[in-house]
């Protein structure tokens, strides 16, 4: 006997057609999904929060954090200490022996060391701090050699101070201290406060005074304004504040014409540019007479 249910099912109406309309809930969800802010929040915010919480949960443990740091440091060191990056030698070019020794002492690490640990910029700045060094070039050559090329300062003049003699370069920068004047007899001497700032002018004056160069003992900066040329036999040439080189040339011209400096003159005063004034070294009477004449002459 066949079940009636089967027959019923066969002849009953097919299932009522599904309504194509979305339910209220589906409609609302779709509208929510089409809201731009919501979409952004879901597509960016949720993965971000998930990733952050997973990472935070993992790192919450001290031990794990320490081991992670350790492994990172190991990885870093293994890369840094590869033989390609090691510096074994330091080659210094263009430096005298004491300067080279000082530069070697400045290297902050003991060789061999990884090139990652050598800060070339800082080292270069430190080397440039040495007075005797005008400039330095550093680079790490192939084969693990730290090449230092140094340009030293050239001393052109000596500056006498109360403390002693300093060697200065053409820019007036200190090069080194000289203990003994006779060690560098080729360099002229200047003295006085602020003389180092005007090395160039001093050199020009000395060049202009070339014809009497063997008699010059040095230049003295007077009151940080003007120069005196000190000759042997205690003679002095007082130069004006402005345009001292021309004044020197006039003195030289006078000397060559009249043999001025060969005579018994103590001071040649060129401060007044209209006329040179000289002071004679003589007996007192004669000196007075000249003074009187000078006074009466005025």
């Amino acid at each position: 006997m066949r079940s009636l249910g089967g027959a019923d099912r066969r002849y009953s109406d097919p299932a009522p057609r599904r309504d194509p309309a979305p339910s209220r809930l589906a409609f609302r969800i779709e509208r929510l999904w089409l809201t731009p802010m919501f979409r952004v929040a879901l597509r960016v915010g949720v993965p971000f929060v998930l990733a952050a919480s997973v990472a935070g949960g993992y790192l919450a443990d001290d031990e794990r954090r320490a081991s992670l740091q350790q492994s990172l440091a190991d990885l870093r060191r293994s890369v840094e200490e590869r033989p390609e990056f090691m510096v074994r030698l330091m080659a210094i070019d263009g430096a005298s022996e004491p300067v080279a020794k000082a530069i070697r002492g400045m290297l902050p690490v003991t060789l061999p060391a990884s090139s990652f640990h050598i800060d070339l910029g800082a080292l270069r700045a430190a080397i440039a701090q040495i007075d005797a060094v005008a400039g330095a070039e550093l680079h790490i050559r192939k084969g693990g050699v730290l090449q230092v090329t140094v340009t030293e300062r050239e001393p052109v003049i000596l500056w006498r101070q109360a403390a002693g003699l300093e060697m200065l370069d053409a820019g007036g920068h200190r090069v080194a201290t000289l203990l003994d004047r006779t060690a560098r007899p080729d360099l002229p001497v200047i003295a006085g406060e602020g003389a180092d700032a005007l090395v160039g002018e001093a050199m020009a004056i000395l060049a202009a005074a070339g014809p009497v160069g063997d008699r010059i003992r040095g230049l003295v900066r007077m009151g940080e304004r003007r120069w005196d040329i000190v000759l042997d036999r205690d003679q002095r040439i007082l130069l004006p504040e402005t345009d001292p080189v021309t004044a020197v040339q006039r003195v030289i011209a006078l000397d060559q014409a009249e043999d001025l400096l060969g005579r018994d003159v103590v001071v040649v005063d060129m401060r007044d540019d209209r006329r040179p004034t000289i002071r004679l070294a003589a007996g007192e009477g004669e000196k007075l007479t000249i003074m009187n004449t000078e006074v009466t002459g005025q």
Binding site: D19, A21, P22, R31, L34, P36
Partner: protein, 443 residues
């Protein structure tokens, strides 16, 4: 009435908010289909070489989503079954949203039923300071004597149609004119409150905000009548499924609107009854073989009616096309006669130009224009809606006249009563002024 005035104002604000957001949906709740378009307003109109805007200046928006669904629960253009209608609206809106890939919150709706009725209003005021100001316009609109249109009716449209100053009439914008007397003519369209409330409730249930309401016959006139027809006078007949709307335009203003509660669905049901076939079959036969003019050829053209009852004799029935036309024609004639009566009542024969434009889904019956010319007058043409940017090809037919018109309505709504300022006397500020007066009097 102030209540509706306020709610219309609120709708206008809502529309402005929607424009700012840039996306608004239009919803045409018809008896045969519910169409939803999603419009995107970008405001940037690409300038062409000849300096003209494209699409008659309607290119500031584009349609980015379109969906149509078979209407359920709507009869005669009114909501008949609330839950069904709500579901149908939801279907259409969801599909359009899906196509647009955006969410729509504001919707502008139109419907054809709810027994629209037209009133012509006139108002007149004395001008205080000679020149017409915004306040004067508001006052003259407020001075229009509103007819007693009965309880349970509300104003849907209130267009100021004409302004007159002293004896100069036909002014579009009276502001700044000088005169002594300002008069205004206003066209008022009222509808049944319950019908519109049902519709609003359905839309609210879909989590949508109403940004505007329009009468279907008005908006299909906007989209189907070309500019000179609107200017010179024309009637637009929107033959829908459950109702046939009529709107008369002159000087670019609607001056009359009405609807007949007959439409294409009645033709279908006649065929269904006459040929004893289901409604869906009747609809198919109507759209494929329908017509209103029988010729000798139609006697020989046999239509397979078909059926699925299992009786061979019944399933193999055939009718000639003449028979089908014989069923359809009286009903179409009846609809047109009703329209004719409405046109006569409206005084359409007084207009300078008496162009009649047939549009809507039912206007696609072959031969309808000839039949309409016989009943309505000689100047009859079939109208299709304006083209708007981005509209799918499937939605460009005559059946979408009111949908497209609603787009135009959304883009450029005509100034209505509630778009003007509230006259100062009606402000609640009056009570403040009274309080001030009381203070002055007593101290």
């Amino acid at each position: 009435m102030t209540d509706l005035y306020q709610s219309q104002r609120a709708m206008r604000n809502m529309r402005r908010a929607a424009m700012q957001r840039g996306v608004v949906a239009v919803l045409d709740v018809g008896s045969s289909k519910i169409a939803c378009l999603v419009l995107q307003f970008d405001g940037t109109e690409d300038i062409r070489e000849d300096g003209l805007g494209s699409l008659a200046g309607q290119s500031q928006f584009r349609v980015i989503g379109a969906a149509t669904t078979r209407s359920r629960g709507v009869r005669f253009g009114e909501v008949d079954a609330m839950a069904e209608t709500e579901r149908a609206i939801r279907t259409a809106v969801q599909a359009a949203q899906k196509m647009a890939q955006t969410r729509v919150d504001h919707v502008i709706a139109c419907f054809s039923g709810a027994r629209p009725r037209s009133y012509g209003l006139a108002g007149e005021i004395e001008l205080h300071d000679g020149q017409v100001s915004e306040q004067d316009v508001a006052r003259v609109l407020a001075a229009c004597d509103v007819p007693d249109f009965g309880v349970g009716r509300e104003v849907l449209h209130a267009h100021p149609v004409n302004f007159a100053i002293d004896h100069r009439s036909g002014l579009g914008d009276p502001r700044g004119h000088v005169g002594n007397k300002l008069a205004a003519d206003m066209h008022l369209l009222t509808i049944d409150t319950t019908a519109v409330q049902n519709l609003l409730h359905c839309i609210k249930r879909c989590d949508l905000e109403i940004a505007g309401l329009a009468s279907s016959s008005y908006v299909s006139g906007l989209s189907s009548l070309v500019e000179d027809e609107q200017e010179l006078g024309a009637a637009c007949i929107d033959m829908g499924g459950g109702a046939t709307g009529l709107s008369i335009f002159i000087k670019k203003h609607m001056i009359f609107a009405d609807s007949v509660r007959l439409g294409g669905d009645h033709v279908t049901s006649d065929i269904s009854k006459g040929l004893q076939v289901p409604l869906t079959t009747a609809e198919r036969i109507k759209t494929i073989h329908g017509g209103v003019h029988a010729t000798g050829m139609d006697d020989r053209e046999m239509i397979e009616i078909g059926s699925d009852c299992g009786d061979w004799e019944k399933d193999r029935r055939q009718v000639s096309r003449t028979e089908l036309i014989g069923i359809m024609r009286p009903r179409v004639e009846e609809i047109l006669e009703e329209i004719r009566a409405l046109l006569d009542a409206a005084g359409f024969d007084q207009l300078p130009s008496q162009q009649i434009v047939l549009t809507g889904g039912a206007s696609q019956i072959p031969g309808l224009d000839m039949l309409a010319a016989r009943i309505l007058g000689q100047n009859v043409r079939l109208g299709r809606p304006l083209r708007v940017q981005g509209l799918p090809q499937a939605a460009t037919g005559a059946a979408f006249a009111s949908t497209v018109g609603l787009c135009l309505f959304a883009a450029h709504p005509q100034d209505e009563w509630w778009d003007f300022e509230i006259p100062a006397e009606r402000y609640p500020a009056r009570s403040l002024r009274r309080a001030m007066k009381w203070f002055k009097d007593n101290w």
